[in-house]
């Protein structure tokens, strides 16, 4: 499209402004973690690393981080198993209700978090409580796994669609039995998709707050719950600032690894 010089300049400026709007808030979080003041007034009166030391020793933040890691690992493990099973069924077989299954897998993330949250909450309290199992870390893991399945599923299905079943057939012709063919042929083919899917699932679980609110029992506090709880407390503001800055820095990790692992996850969105 033959764009005039001024149109190009205008677009360049608009895009620069757009990217500035995207990145300035994240940079602000980083700078603000060095703010010696408890208020968020701009510009900060100076810079200090004092709060990073304070945050490092904050037991509340540490416990919450640990809870989040445990919940994330549990949810990711379940999502890897369920997502892979469903992906193989959908990509390698034809059966009644195949499209419906693909739809149900997406549903937990397509519906508003609060709907999934209260649905699981009331199911847990009617089914589990009579059995003596209350809300706790376990129920958080179950809730997170439910919406993490789709991430693994999408990654593995995309991979399986691009690799035909003829590799497994060739392995069978060469004398490999079902298990052998899986270990030597199929698994290596989907390994990087599993890694990418697992990583993205973990990131999604690590960040989730709405479903967590409804599935976490008393005393179970993930990092997002901790941040939300402490955000409005002036006393805790500096520690929240540091935790927020750490999370901004950590967000580069999943995109970097996903980018390296496979091309089809590079544009994978989290919804």
């Amino acid at each position: 499209m033959p764009l005039s010089r001024s149109a190009r300049i205008a677009l360049r400026v608009a895009a620069a402004l757009g990217f500035a709007v995207i990145y300035v808030p994240l940079l602000l979080v980083l700078v603000n973690s060095l703010n010696p003041d408890r208020s968020a007034s701009w510009p900060p009166p100076g810079l200090t690393t004092r709060w990073w030391t304070v945050a490092w020793h904050s037991s509340g933040a540490r416990d919450a981080l640990w809870t989040s890691v445990k919940a994330g690992l549990g949810a990711t493990a379940i999502a890897l198993v369920l997502g892979t099973l469903a992906a193989f069924a959908v990509a390698r077989y034809r059966f009644f209700g195949r499209d419906a299954l693909s739809f149900v897998v997406v549903l937990p993330i397509a519906l508003p978090g609060i709907v999934t949250g209260i649905a699981l909450n009331s199911a847990f309290s009617t089914v589990l409580q009579p059995l003596g199992v209350g809300l706790g870390l376990f129920t958080v893991v179950v809730g997170h796994a439910t919406f993490c399945v789709v991430i693994v599923f999408n990654n593995v299905v995309a991979r399986l669609r691009r690799t035909s079943g003829s590799y497994e057939e060739a392995a069978a012709d060469l004398g490999a039995d079902t298990f052998r063919a899986f270990v030597d042929v199929t698994f290596p083919l989907v390994r990087s998709a599993l890694l990418a899917g697992g990583l993205l699932a973990f990131a999604l679980s690590f960040d989730e707050i709405v479903v967590t609110t409804f599935t976490a029992g008393p005393g179970v506090q993930t990092l997002p719950l901790w941040i939300f709880d402490n955000m409005t407390r002036p006393q805790q503001a500096p520690v929240v600032n540091v935790v927020a800055a750490v999370l901004v820095l950590l967000s580069v990790v999943p995109i970097y690894v996903a980018q390296r692992l496979s091309a089809d996850t590079a544009t994978a969105s989290r919804v």
Binding site: A15, G83, I209, I227, M231
Partner: protein, 287 residues
Amino acid sequence: MTVLTRTAGALHRRPRLRLALLLTAPLLWLAVLYLGSLAVLFVSAFWTTDSFTSEVVKVWSTDNFHELFTTPVFRQVILRSVGVALAVTALCAVIAFPVAFYTARVARPSRRPLLVVAILTPLWASYLVKVYAWRLILSEGGLADWMLKPFGLSGPGFGLPATVLTLTYLWLPYMILPIHTALEQLPDNLLDASADLGARAWRTFRSVVLPMVLPSVAAGSVFTFSLSLGDYITVQIVGGKSQLIGNLVYANIELNLPMAAALATVPVVVIVLYLLAMRRTGALSSL
């Protein structure tokens, strides 16, 4: 023959058995546990609550929905929530278009993959941290106030405008990406043909580019609209006293679960209607 090879043989000969083994666990989890919970929730929207004991009364009635449509507060909040979601979607589209146009057609081709990563990266920054960033920006004496001070203005503070702004920021990448992809795939010869027929840049944009990119805008809007409509955390952090539909659901859970369930069906129904409307534009096939 070992047990393992015998099992392998049995599995190999019975594809239906293999399929059953693959499907059992995911179906138990998603179809029974998840869909079951959802079904019970939506059925419970037709139950009522004893106003003295807060016990759920399992008798079929449409009272909750009647109340939903006749109580002015509910109607107001529902309309406000849809309005916010539409405003966020419109703002996202307006901001995303020039950015995507630059990344897809103006920037040097060698730089484009890097620009796409630059659009994607903020998606992986924590949701809560991004909202918190806007709380910092919009707080009294914060960055917004500081930037607007030379013009004799002050920031919008916390409230509905702040909520729209923050939600726009949160979901903007979901709008930029599909528009970027559509613009990138636009065939050059169509643009050349338009120019050969005498169209200037603006005419080409209106008559060729825009109609071809519109389905992608619709695809992006599915995300921006539905994510905004379901959100109730952002408005709690930067919305001041404003309430959206999610807040009403949240407020009713403890004391009146059937009412909360009835309220929760509203965003679901609106989102489904929106999806159906967008499907007519061909948006869903380009998702």
